[in-house]
């Protein structure tokens, strides 16, 4: 970094670091306030949008039907749903701000090109709380880039920000590389919206130990936390535990990066899940899957080799959404064990023990807590416990799939970052990079997009106001 080219005419009001939902919301808002805005997106155009490419909905408070959403979803209900999944580890003030602002976001999103659709087949339980994007997150990202460009926002792809220079309590300049050249810009305001660090496996391993090498990254390979680390090194206030993240159990055959939604498996409630020693380790029927999918990532991460194995039989095969890779299939439990690399005798005995502790299954109901449970088994299975007896038998391997990490930049209600106990005059953060300011642990479906949209808009407005 010995020679910097300063792009002529590059007196930007606002530079937005990142190119996903939060970044775009900030950029559009700032541009609408009259600011000259530059987006620096690390990914090439085909992969622009960060994890937003893989999202599908936006959790939204509403009083009465709104867009695709039915009935009402009040602030208190939303907040209580959030408290349940985070076990109380939630910043109430910022969470309520996100929740309250979500209602006005939905029409704003439509005005900026997002189109919604009714709840997808297989996700009817979310029809009241989550507004689904027509075409998913990439279509949202596409629409926002079109709108941003119409508003005069400049976008540079494959522009990797390497350093944001903090001079006491303000940002003085920012360096990025583009096509092997380093550039330096001196914007009046900077918004960081470049996600977590989950794609940097080394960093994950520092937090989790070597186990992290076995994790799969569900989203973009470009969120490596470069800017986050750079700012934390300069003493910018941080928040969150480095081992906390939104992680789910996904198909063990998923690609290392970018597998997205299709790698999820919804069969756990109808199965038994064992570790590589063919031992069960948790109640598979604790609650309906949408409320439990987010805890299984950590459960699997705690098992030897960070892997789990789901076992079901023929009668359960069609009870869940189809999987992207076909299940492993066998005519006997022993054969299935061999195909999956599990000890056959141990698996057979685990299945038999489970089957013996199943009772009356006549009340079995796949979509409700049916109370069809085991007796005398440890750990118990407290719903949907039907013996695994009907050949052919099917199996999936499960691995931990990390969506995004929670260690991030601490912000206040203006999305502003701080150093020591003073705000940084011209630095704001939005989206996954500051989500840890709200979420301590756990995850609520669709809340990531709420945080990104609400705080992206706040950051964009504040950044533009400062620049003006």
């Amino acid at each position: 970094m010995n020679k910097h080219s300063t792009t002529p005419g590059s007196n930007w009001d606002v530079v937005v670091v990142g190119g996903g939902n939060a970044a775009l919301c900030a950029a559009m808002t700032a541009a609408e306030e009259g600011a000259r805005v530059l987006i620096l997106e690390t990914a090439p155009k085909a992969y622009r949008g960060g994890n937003s490419r893989h999202t599908r909905n936006f959790r939204c408070m509403h009083h009465g039907p709104l867009g695709p959403l039915v009935d009402s979803y009040t602030e208190d209900e939303y907040f209580s749903d959030l408290m349940k999944v985070t076990g109380g580890k939630t910043h109430e003030g910022l969470a309520r701000l996100a929740i309250r602002s979500s209602e006005e976001c939905l029409p704003w999103m439509e005005e900026h090109g997002v189109r919604f659709q009714p709840s997808l087949s297989g996700t009817l339980s979310l029809a009241r709380t989550n507004a689904f994007f027509l075409g998913g997150g990439k279509s949202l990202v596409n629409a926002y880039y079109r709108t941003a460009e119409k508003l005069g926002v400049t976008v540079k792809y494959e522009a990797a920000v390497t350093h944001i220079e903090l001079d006491d309590d303000r940002v003085s300049y920012l360096d990025y590389t583009l096509a092997d050249k380093t550039h330096r810009v001196f914007p009046k305001s900077v918004v960081v919206a470049s996600g977590g660090f989950q794609a940097d496996t080394e960093w994950l391993a520092r937090a989790w130990g070597p186990a992290a090498k076995n994790f799969l990254i569900r989203g973009t390979p470009y969120n490596r936390g470069v800017v986050l680390a750079d700012l934390l090194d300069q003493g910018v206030e941080q928040v969150g535990d480095p081992t906390q993240c939104h992680a789910v159990a996904i198909d063990g055959r998923a690609p290392k990066f970018d597998g997205g939604i299709v790698t999820r498996l919804d069969c756990v409630p109808f199965s038994i899940v064992v570790n590589k020693n063919a031992e069960r380790f948790y109640d598979e029927g604790e609650d309906v899957w949408p409320k439990r999918y987010a805890i299984w990532g950590r459960l699997v991460a705690a098992q030897p080799d960070q892997v789990g194995y789901v076992i079901i039989d023929a009668k359960s095969l069609n009870l869940f959404m189809p999987s992207v890779f076909p299940p492993i299939k066998a005519d006997s439990i022993e054969e299935l064990a061999e195909k999956m690399g599990l000890p056959p005798v141990a698996l057979k005995s685990t299945v038999e023990e489970f089957n013996r502790s199943c009772g009356d299954t006549s009340n079995f109901h796949p979509t409700e807590l049916d109370g069809v449970r085991t007796t005398g088994l440890n750990p118990a299975k407290t719903n949907w416990a039907r013996p695994i007896t009907e050949a052919p038998f099917y199996g999936y391997s499960l691995r931990t799939g990390v969506t995004f990490t929670y260690l991030g930049l601490k912000v206040d209600e203006n999305a502003q970052c701080s150093v020591g106990n003073r705000p940084i005059a011209n630095l704001w953060a939005a989206g996954e990079t500051m989500a840890g300011s709200i979420l301590g642990q756990g995850y609520l479906a669709g809340f990531g997009m709420t945080i990104g949209t609400v705080f992206g808009r706040i950051a964009g407005k504040e950044a533009a106001a400062y620049a003006n």
Binding site: R53, S121, L134, G135, S139, R146, G260, V262, M321, S323
Partner: protein, 353 residues
């Protein structure tokens, strides 16, 4: 059917079925999400439901360079194209013409030549206007079989299609739903009503939908013009030529203008579109077909405007030659898609009840 195309479509459909983000775009996805496994028949039906609006492609997070390499519009277009060749009667004609614009042009030229030859051979005595070149009965003698043969051929194809997609007895309500969907080109509206992605990557526009509507309604108006003239001729004993303020002329002129403009616009949009999202090697056949359709319309209009000039005999021969080629080729060119679309929409109406 070539199993490569079917297997590729199956691979992609299984990924789509685990995602479902595109459910609201068109009729393909609800039908796809209703299955757990995809038979060849399922894929053939999905392929013919797909209008190649491309909304799903640009929304897809799994398109290349992603390793899943999804390109559902192309996968379905290949199966669709293949199904038209497979079900055609006779099959060899479809294999020859479907993907070959040059052969379509050649066929039109053969049509021109035939009429030039005929006009020279047959001296019509006492006819007026166009009939001074060829008598009405002569035209009927040529066009009757050229019209009936395609209908029979398409009938056979649709029967084959219906069997392959496991269609049940057709009720009025199925046809009603199919015709309503086709009339408004529902599957090019994009679910949100903003249209489709075709000529400018992920930007939604009504361009292709409107151009297609112009072609479709233009064609139907021209067809209605000819039909009304037939009725006037036989039922009311009112032979051509007709004045401007008559049913055949009004329908024909409006239809001809729509069809001409629509065809030109369709070709223009097609040239701007990404060819990798369409069926392999079908571009020339499709442009050849739209070109022929456009030529029929434009020559018909010129015939109207220049009908009393010395250009008339030449224009008439060109027009009739093109119409003849168009009719004869209907079962073997893109024209046949309309029939398959209606069948697929009717089949889908059976699924949704």
């Amino acid at each position: 059917m070539q199993t490569d195309f079917l297997n590729e479509a199956r691979r992609q459909a299984e990924i789509c079925n685990a995602c479902r983000y595109c459910e609201g775009y068109c009729s393909v996805f609800p039908a796809l999400h209703a299955e757990r496994a995809f038979s060849d028949g399922n894929l053939t039906q999905l392929a013919n439901l797909c209008h190649n609006c491309r909304g799903c492609y640009y929304a897809c997070q799994y398109t290349a360079p992603h390793e899943f390499n999804l390109n559902l519009p192309q996968a379905l277009a290949n199966v669709r194209q293949q199904s038209w060749e497979e079900f055609a009667y006779p099959q060899s004609a479809a294999k020859a013409f479907q993907k070959n614009g040059a052969l379509i042009a050649l066929m039109a030229t053969v049509g021109f030549a035939f009429f030039f030859w005929l006009a020279k051979q047959v001296a019509t005595i006492g006819g007026e206007g166009f009939y001074a070149i060829l008598s009405h009965n002569m035209m009927i003698a040529i066009f009757m079989p050229a019209f009936v043969f395609p209908l029979v051929s398409i009938g056979i194809s649709l029967r084959r299609y219906w069997r392959s997609v496991d269609g049940g007895p057709v009720k009025f309500v199925h046809l009603k739903k199919a015709f309503i969907a086709a009339a408004g080109m529902k599957n090019l509206r994009g679910g949100h009503g903003d249209g489709c992605n075709f000529e400018d990557t992920d930007r939604f526009s009504q361009g292709r939908r409107y151009a297609h509507q112009a072609v479709m309604y233009g064609f139907l108006l021209c067809f209605a013009a000819t039909s009304s003239a037939t009725v006037l001729h036989y039922v009311f004993d009112m032979p051509a030529p007709y004045p401007f303020w008559s049913l055949p002329k009004l329908l024909g002129v409006i239809g001809g203008v729509l069809l001409s403009l629509g065809s030109v616009e369709m070709v223009r949009l097609k040239l701007k579109s990404d060819k990798t999202l369409a069926a392999d090697k079908a571009f020339s056949g499709e442009v050849g077909f739209v070109g022929l359709l456009g030529f029929v319309a434009i020559s018909g209009l010129l015939l109207y405007f220049l009908g009393s000039t010395t250009a008339m005999p030449v224009l008439l021969v060109l027009h009739l030659g093109a119409v003849l080629a168009f009719f004869v080729l209907t079962p073997f060119t893109k024209m046949v898609h309309g029939f398959y679309r209606l069948a697929a929409l009717a089949r889908d109406a059976q699924r949704t009840k």
